[in-house]
């Protein structure tokens, strides 16, 4: 029953959003996100590493970790939100985990992941 109600709100596969449906933990992606500024909306791009993907149906979300001015910021994005305009995959990594929370404790060169 939940599938029936939610399927109206899930995003559809088109030719453009191949990357959106093939996200894996360890990818470096660039998300285009709509931000309201005054009365207009503008697209802001965030680039970072996916450290977790949670599949919850319509609430499917991912945690993006990016470095801003030397400090690490984590953001949670709900993937079926209408505010997400685009997701482009920049790089994949070979990881043997489904959640990369160990990266929070590492600094510098030890945070590098093997490129696939």
């Amino acid at each position: 029953l939940i599938h029936y109600v939610e399927s109206n709100y899930l995003k559809k596969r088109t030719d453009n959003n191949f990357d959106f449906f093939n996200l894996k933990v360890g990818d470096i992606i660039r998300i285009g996100y709509l931000i309201p500024e005054g009365e207009k909306e503008r697209t802001q791009y965030y680039q970072g590493l996916i450290i977790a993907i949670k599949n919850r149906g319509i609430g499917k979300s991912l945690i993006l970790r990016r470095t801003v001015q030397g400090i690490g910021i984590e953001q949670v994005f709900i993937l079926n939100s209408p505010k997400i305009v685009s997701i482009i995959k920049k790089q994949s990594s070979k990881v043997r985990r489904s959640k990369l929370y160990f990266i929070r404790k590492l600094r510098g060169k030890s945070t590098r992941l093997k490129v696939k």
């Binding site: 001015q69 953001q75 209408p82």
Partner: protein, 126 residues
């Protein structure tokens, strides 16, 4: 979620470095403060150098507005974001800033408070 006793980092150039939260404004027995709320801090550490050139003294109290928090803050469409430290910017009783520059990224939800000017003083908008 900053509460009484939380150690916070001061990110402007008023001279203070670390403070401890001692009081919350805006409410009776208010427990937690998030980005954009005003708290009162006691200054624990100040910058090295000549103390006469700084705007604050060690041990004095000052009002401050919270700019980033370690706990996850909800964004307007259901996502969350967090920063690795709790930071504040010092303000005076008349809501003017004691410093002139801000040295860290600031949370974007400050845009909807009356401290919108901080976003132009800061380094980056998170």
């Amino acid at each position: 979620m900053i509460q009484k006793g939380t150690i916070v980092r001061v990110v402007d150039n008023s001279g203070a470095k670390i403070g401890a939260c001692i009081h919350m404004y805006q409410g009776y027995r208010r427990r937690y403060a998030k980005v954009g709320d005003v708290i009162k801090i006691a200054i624990k550490k100040i910058k090295k150098g000549d103390p006469d050139l700084l705007k604050v003294k060690k041990g004095s109290m000052s009002k401050a507005v919270v700019v980033t928090t370690k706990s996850f803050l909800k964004t307007f469409d259901g996502g969350y974001k967090s920063s690795p430290c709790n930071s504040v910017v010092l303000i005076s009783d008349q809501d003017t800033f004691l410093g002139t520059r801000v040295f860290s990224g600031l949370d974007a939800s400050l845009r909807y408070t009356k401290y919108l000017r901080l976003l132009s003083m800061g380094v980056d908008v998170i």
